[in-house]
Amino acid sequence: MKEQDQKEPILEIKDLRKSFGENHVLNGFNLKLYKGENLVVMGKSGSGKSVMIKCLVGLMQADSGVIKIKDQDISNLGQKELDILRTEIGFLFQGSALYDSMTVRENLEFPLRRHKKKLELSGSTDKLVLEALENVGLAKAIDLMPSELSGGMQRRIALARALILKPNIILYDEPTTGLDPITAKEIIHLMRTIQDTYNTSSLIITHDVDCARVIANRMILLVDGINYAEGSFQELLNNKDQQVQAFFKT
């Protein structure tokens, strides 16, 4: 942590607030993500984790606060600049969100259509698609439709799609939710491998303690829309606070 403080964060959230009518979901949330780091944000269902991650990529408008990605304040960006910035971010959705009218190949080709030239990615589209699929161990599924894949396979393909533009930051929204324990472990292992291979920075939203134990370099506990506690997995595990302990007991 001390070493990280000296570095510039690749992603930063300051005093983020978001309400839906009388329901105040985020009440001044703060976060800094550093290069090569795996930061886990844990919180109960409805604690505002998904709202926070959606504000981060501009899918939702925050009421107030600052979100900076690579030193650019996203609220000051036009649509074009935001789209370019989004190519630096891979997003793994909770339900995979594969385009179900397209084959696996077309799903992976989709982000490349607009951005391959701009990002100066070397190699043909076919080569990039195959490479991404090999990284998740599913090259043989290239011509299948998403409906022909199991939940775990869909999650892997979604991860391959998130990686295809070679982003610097990957956002995971509940990466293991809805998966059986063995498949969940496989996905967590895959996340680690990807982080080691590409040296990406990852922000992982989860309430899966096992996932956090394996993957987290640092953790933030989100309670009532604020940073309730922060530290490494071990530090939080040893924390005597009842609310913190409640996370680990479950």
């Binding site: 899918l59 789209d83 989004r86 959705f93 594969l98 179900d100 989709f110 982000p111």
Partner: protein
């Protein structure tokens, strides 16, 4: 809440919805002229919408021609006006019945399909995934579908009208012993450009309404799978109402020009 408050809140939400739809239409016109253009997806949508609705339109058109002729024949015979049959049927089908019936069929087939497809994409976060990947989902999903329905509906209506006239000619040939050549001659004698052009222009608007309402309902779908059903259903109901309003305006405007 009293009845007056209920009426007030329902009126408010009705006008709010009209406003949202107008904004959605405005966004369509802004995006449709801005590059990059999604030609490949547009062609795919044209193919799907045309190809998948073709059989339904042809069968409906054919039966419409048969039934309309069968039903009209006894009345015209009573007045000794059977010879007016081809003229009356062709003008009625080309000006009004063909476009309206086929547009309503397409509102059910294409409009509900678009509403359900986009609605399901919205609730499963596929539209969000497109946005996050730096692609404009409005351009890719909405603009292509609205343009495709606007272009394909006139073609489907022309085909439907043609098949309806074939159906009518068959009945006339069997019941009235009118030769096919005579029937065709009478049809072409009675139809003027002032019948065909307004009907064709009207069908572009019908196509636009079907695509726009279907996309609006699907793109703004919420409330999970229940919302998808609601979006699909509302797309058909709203489009059907809108088709009759457009039809009334089109007939009214045509009437002004014909009088001039």
């Amino acid at each position: 809440m009293g009845p007056s408050n209920t009426i007030l809140s329902k009126s408010k939400s009705f006008f709010a919805e009209i406003g949202d739809m107008a904004y959605f239409a405005g966004r369509f016109f802004r995006e449709v002229v801005k590059p990059p253009f999604e030609f490949k997806e547009l062609l795919r949508q044209c193919y799907y919408m045309g190809n998948r609705s073709l059989l339904l339109v042809l069968v409906t058109g054919f039966i419409l021609g048969l039934v309309f002729t069968l039903q009209s024949r006894p009345t015209l015979t009573e007045f000794g006006a059977e010879s007016w049959m081809p003229s009356m049927i062709s003008i009625a089908i080309i000006r009004e019945i063909g476009p309206v019936v086929i547009a309503l069929i397409c509102a059910g087939k294409i409009g509900s399909g678009i509403g359900a497809e986009l609605g399901s994409m919205r609730v499963t976060e596929q539209i969000d995934a497109m946005e996050v990947s730096g692609t404009n989902p409005f351009k890719y999903l909405v603009v292509t579908r609205v343009v495709a329905t606007t272009l394909m509906l006139p073609l489907l209506i022309i085909l439907g009208d043609t098949v309806a006239l074939i159906g009518s000619a068959i009945i006339e040939n069997i019941k009235g012993e009118v030769s096919y050549l005579l029937y065709i001659n009478q049809v072409f004698d009675s139809i003027k450009f002032s019948d065909v052009i307004p009907a064709t222009i009207k069908s572009f608007f019908f196509g636009f309404a079907i695509g726009l309402v279907g996309c609006y309902k699907g793109y703004n779908c919420s409330k999970g799978t229940v919302g998808v059903g609601e979006a699909s259903n509302a797309a058909v109901v709203y489009t059907s109402m809108l088709l009759f309003i457009i039809d009334f305006i089109a007939v009214f405007v045509t009437d002004i020009f014909v009088d001039m």
